[in-house]
């Protein structure tokens, strides 16, 4: 298909467009602010508010942390006009919509308009993309700009223009500015150029210079962060050191075991068919085969090898997976015809495969994303937000004196309380080893002494951190047992823990530290 044969997307059947649009919007925006922010969301939205100069976020959320600031920059532009806690989620969802558009245009070029609609439909309802793009995380813009990079790459392959070379560098740079791990897009580009390109050196140089120009703000902020580094050692180099030396947090099978959850079984089957089709039928002989396999394969391989696993790390693969699935639909039809299956049955099989993929994906997306009618089906703890966190932080804001200090299990809760309640919270699980801790977090060196002598007014136990680290959860309970006489706040609930089992119990429990000199402590000493 040549560019001149492409029809504008709006000339697709009206019913399909309307249905797809409504479904997409519902899945991405319905109840998007139902749950309070989780830890990462609080950090990125807090940084956005810091960039906008909003107090008290400027005190709690330094902009000089591990990642670049493009997402936070966009959030800043929004919250400068009007602040609300889930502004970042709307920004992320908007980038998610943008990814759908790029996926459509790209698939239109790589396959056909029909495949473009199918791929876009798959991505629109894909549980993984829905869930991630509903969160105020860096991955949604990163996935958008990586997809845009691929689009610019295939355009350059078509027209070899100066403009397209600039576009590749700019899009790749913006992907990097969203999150530095997007640097791997250069590897994908390199593989494509090596296998399919007949590129002029000047064009490559132009792309690289553009890339360098676009990522320059991050270099600037890294240098500023390093020069602003205090005794806490929160400079960029320390972040890099910490990132590179983090121990594994999930088993190697983490991504594979989540694949059904990411895509739904039918879509996963079709995507697999598409991959097989491309490898077997096209190999390195076509642009689209090399482009798609490099686009999806590099992040999949790199993040599989990287010891630290994250639920949302593989989101750049999602658009490619949707395109694979769309190609898989074509492959299914071709193979059925090749097998001399009756035409009518073949068509029905293809249509059913599409329908099942969409229906299954919508179902999984719906129960993980927008249609959370209660708190017992939110998937892995905290990834869609933290149930009960708004009630907790409202209580903290209204019923604890300004200046109260909290001691919790893990740093997740510290970010959330800082974001919502403007209270200082330290976490027991922050390692005293600088190589094993995020430099943004403060170490509690002698919790027993500090609690004993009233340096914390409250101990806070949260179910999300507790199911990650029972050791420090027990430590908080032990301190509460020794130094507290009353539970000041408690909320019960249910959520699905990381092991897939339901967690039933206290989501948050806040203990008031007993006063110094009261006999509970003296008895304990004896």
């Amino acid at each position: 298909m040549t560019p001149s044969e492409l029809r504008p997307w709006w000339k697709a059947p009206r019913t399909s467009v309307i249905t797809l649009t409504i479904t997409t919007l519902i899945l991405r925006f319905w109840s998007i602010g139902l749950l309070g922010l989780n830890s990462d969301e609080a950090v990125y939205t807090g940084q956005g508010a810091s960039l906008a100069g909003l107090a008290p976020f400027t005190e709690h959320f330094s902009i000089f942390r591990a990642h670049p600031l493009l997402f936070q920059y966009v959030v800043a532009a929004v919250v400068r006009v009007h602040f609300w806690d889930t502004a970042g989620r709307w920004v992320a969802a908007a980038f998610g919509l943008g990814t759908l558009w790029v996926t459509f245009r790209l698939t239109e070029r790589l396959a056909s308009r029909r495949s473009a609609w199918i791929a876009t439909g798959f991505l629109a309802v894909m549980p993984y993309h829905v869930v991630v793009s509903r969160q105020a995380l860096l991955e949604s813009p990163m996935a958008f700009f990586m997809a845009l990079t691929m689009y610019a790459l295939i355009r350059y392959q078509d027209n070899q223009t100066f403009r397209s070379a600039l576009g590749i560098g700019a899009a790749a740079g913006l992907a990097f500015l969203s999150k530095e791990t997007a640097i791997i897009v250069l590897l994908s580009i390199g593989i494509f150029v090596a296998l399919r390109g007949s590129w002029k050196t000047s064009r490559i140089a132009l792309g690289l210079v553009t890339f360098g120009f676009v990522i320059s703000p991050h270099l600037l902020s890294s240098l500023s962060g390093s020069s602003a580094e205090g005794e806490g050692g929160s400079g960029w180099a320390n972040y890099l050191l910490w990132q590179l030396s983090r121990p594994p947090n999930h088993p190697a099978s983490f991504y594979l075991s989540n694949a059904f959850h990411y895509f739904g079984p039918a879509m996963l089957f079709l995507a697999g068919l598409g991959v097989v089709w491309l490898i077997v039928k096209e190999g390195r002989r076509t642009d689209r085969s090399v482009l798609l396999l490099a686009w999806a394969g590099v992040p999949a391989l790199v993040f599989q090898l990287y010891p630290v696993k994250g639920y949302h790390y593989l989101i750049p693969v999602a658009p490619a997976a949707a395109i694979f699935a769309a190609i898989g639909v074509t492959a299914l039809g071709s193979w059925l015809r090749a097998a001399h299956v009756q035409e009518e049955i073949a068509i029905r099989a293809v249509n059913w495969s599409i329908g099942l993929s969409l229906a299954g994906a919508i179902f999984v997306s719906a129960i993980n994303g927008p249609i959370v009618l209660n708190y017992d089906r939110i998937g892995e703890a905290g990834y869609s937000g933290l149930p009960g966190v708004r009630d907790l932080t409202r209580w903290i804001s209204e019923d604890t004196p300004a200046g109260s200090r909290f001691l919790g299990i893990g740093p997740s809760i510290t970010n959330v309380i800082a974001f919502y309640s403007d209270r200082e919270t330290l976490a027991l699980s922050v390692s005293p080893n600088p190589l094993r801790r995020n430099p943004a977090y403060e170490v509690v060196r002698n919790a027993d002494y500090d609690v004993r002598w009233g340096q914390y007014e409250y101990l806070i136990y949260d179910g999300y951190s507790a199911q990650r680290t029972s050791h420090f959860a027990n430590r908080v309970l032990d301190l509460a047992d020794r130094y507290s006489t009353e539970v000041a706040y408690q909320s019960e609930g249910t959520f699905v823990a990381e092991d897939g089992e339901p967690f039933i119990g206290p989501i948050f429990r806040v203990y008031r530290v007993a006063p110094i000199g009261s006999t509970i402590i003296d008895e304990d000493e004896e």
């Binding site: 810091s50 913006l174 500015l177 703000p217 500023s224 004196p401 000199g517």
Partner: protein, 445 residues
């Protein structure tokens, strides 16, 4: 004639007994429904707040002669103590007399040396926000009194006695010195006044031991763990406060303070006395300072905060130097200047109150609140702390100072976001513009 006799007898009875008040309204005249008074041990103003900005601390370039009688011995200057535990300096009445040097207040080093300190210049040691961050933080947020004097130029016991009775003269006219007599004290206290007026009160004692009273020989000899109770809680030296349940039941352990706060039944007047966490050297003053501020925190967390005042002071000098000569108001005092903090939702913010106060000032405030008659000429003449308050202001919400001191007006350095915002704007804007222009050009071509 009979009627006149009856009236005279009644007047005589009223004048003679503890209940010297006429009709008392148990409703306070000011919005302070709960007064909590804490007395810690052995610090001078210069020892704790000598370098506090805006207060009358160490004068610029201050030095003190090592030995005023021997100019060749040289001088010593105040220095910051970076340890929170020190030996206890000599602080007897004789040592104080020498230190005061007839009003010259220039012999603290000499007195410490004379009475046995291995290093007399320790008397010039002082602390600041590093060692007592919470006290300094409270001073920033509430009221620091920089002219509060110990009531007696003497040791702990008479100073505590003044805080309870505004005198150290028994009802039979004898003077009480540094100890409780074997038969106990007969003296009118502020709690007699409150009891008679039907105003609630309690005395909370850390680690309270009811057996450590004037009848306990071991306590009198300082042989029990709670021997200090006899000195720091003068009520246990008064027979009726030991024997009569309507009095003795109101002297309770510190746990009851927290329980009363929790239940919302804090009395109108509460005196609190520490035990091991008194800041008395050689104990760790930092732990005492945590303890004392924790008492305040408990009040802040309670429903009583909005109608309360929390006053903390230190009983006497403890051998530490202070450069301000105390006014001589009578034969007992004043003694050396001590620090005091006044915390309340009505307290002026960050106010250094230079009104002259002494340990009878809380009694004077109680008299003002409830229209009680003075116990002595001391509380009758004492300033009643009302200068520390602004009752026109809305009750302030509780505000805990940070455990690491932050000076007032200090703004934590925040990131300089401007260059970052500009850089992102340039790149993002340029790139966006490029995409738009390229798209337009492609469409038009």
């Amino acid at each position: 004639m009979r009627a006149l006799i009856v009236v005279l007898v009644l007047v005589g009875l009223l004048a003679a007994g503890p209940a010297a008040n006429s009709v008392v309204d148990p409703t306070p005249s000011l919005p302070i429904e709960h007064l909590v008074f804490v007395m810690q041990e052995d610090r001078t103003f210069d020892n704790y707040f000598g370098t506090y900005p805006g207060a009358e601390g160490w004068p610029e370039g201050f030095t003190m002669p090592i030995d005023p009688s021997d100019p060749s011995a040289g001088t010593a200057e105040p220095y910051n103590l970076d340890v929170t535990r020190t030996p206890s300096l000599p602080h007897s009445t004789a040592a104080m007399k020498m230190a005061m040097n007839d009003g010259a207040v220039d012999s603290f080093v000499a007195a410490a040396t004379e009475f046995g300190a291995s290093d007399g210049t320790l008397a010039l040691g002082y602390y600041d926000s590093e060692e007592i961050p919470l006290y300094w933080g409270l001073a920033d947020r509430y009221v620091l009194a920089d002219h509060w004097f110990s009531s007696v130029a003497g040791p702990s016991f008479p100073n505590h006695l003044y805080a309870y009775t505004a005198s150290r003269t028994s009802t039979d006219g004898t003077k009480v010195y540094n100890s409780v007599p074997e038969e106990g004290l007969e003296i009118i206290t502020i709690f007699d006044r409150l009891q008679d007026a039907g105003i609630s009160w309690k005395v909370y004692v850390q680690g309270y031991d009811p057996e450590s009273n004037f009848r306990s020989a071991e306590a009198r000899l300082g042989l029990t763990d709670q021997a200090a109770q006899l000195i720091w809680v003068p009520l246990v030296g008064i027979p009726r406060y030991v024997d009569d349940p309507q009095y003795s039941s109101k002297i309770v352990d510190i746990d009851q303070y927290y329980e009363d706060l929790r239940q919302g039944v804090l009395p109108a007047v509460a005196f609190i006395t520490p035990s091991g966490l008194s800041e008395h050297p050689p104990g760790d003053l930092q732990l005492g300072h945590y303890f004392a501020t924790d008492l305040l925190e408990a009040l802040m967390f309670s429903e009583h905060w909005e109608s309360s005042a929390f006053v903390i002071t230190w009983d006497e000098w403890g051998g530490w130097a202070d450069h301000v000569p105390p006014p001589q108001v009578d034969e007992d005092g004043y003694g050396v200047r001590v620090p005091a903090l006044i915390v309340s939702p009505f307290a002026k913010r960050g106010f250094v109150d230079s009104t002259i106060y002494d340990h009878t000032s809380p009694i004077a405030l109680i008299n003002t609140l409830y229209g009680l008659d003075p116990l002595s000429t001391r509380d009758a003449a004492a300033n009643d702390l009302t200068n520390a308050f602004d009752f026109e202001q809305e009750p302030r919400p509780p505000e805990l100072p940070p455990v690491e001191y932050v000076p007032p007006g200090f703004e934590a350095p925040t990131d300089n976001t401007r260059p970052i915002v500009v850089a992102y704007s340039v790149v993002f804007g340029t790139t966006l513009l490029g995409f738009v222009l390229a798209n337009i050009r492609r469409r038009t071509s």
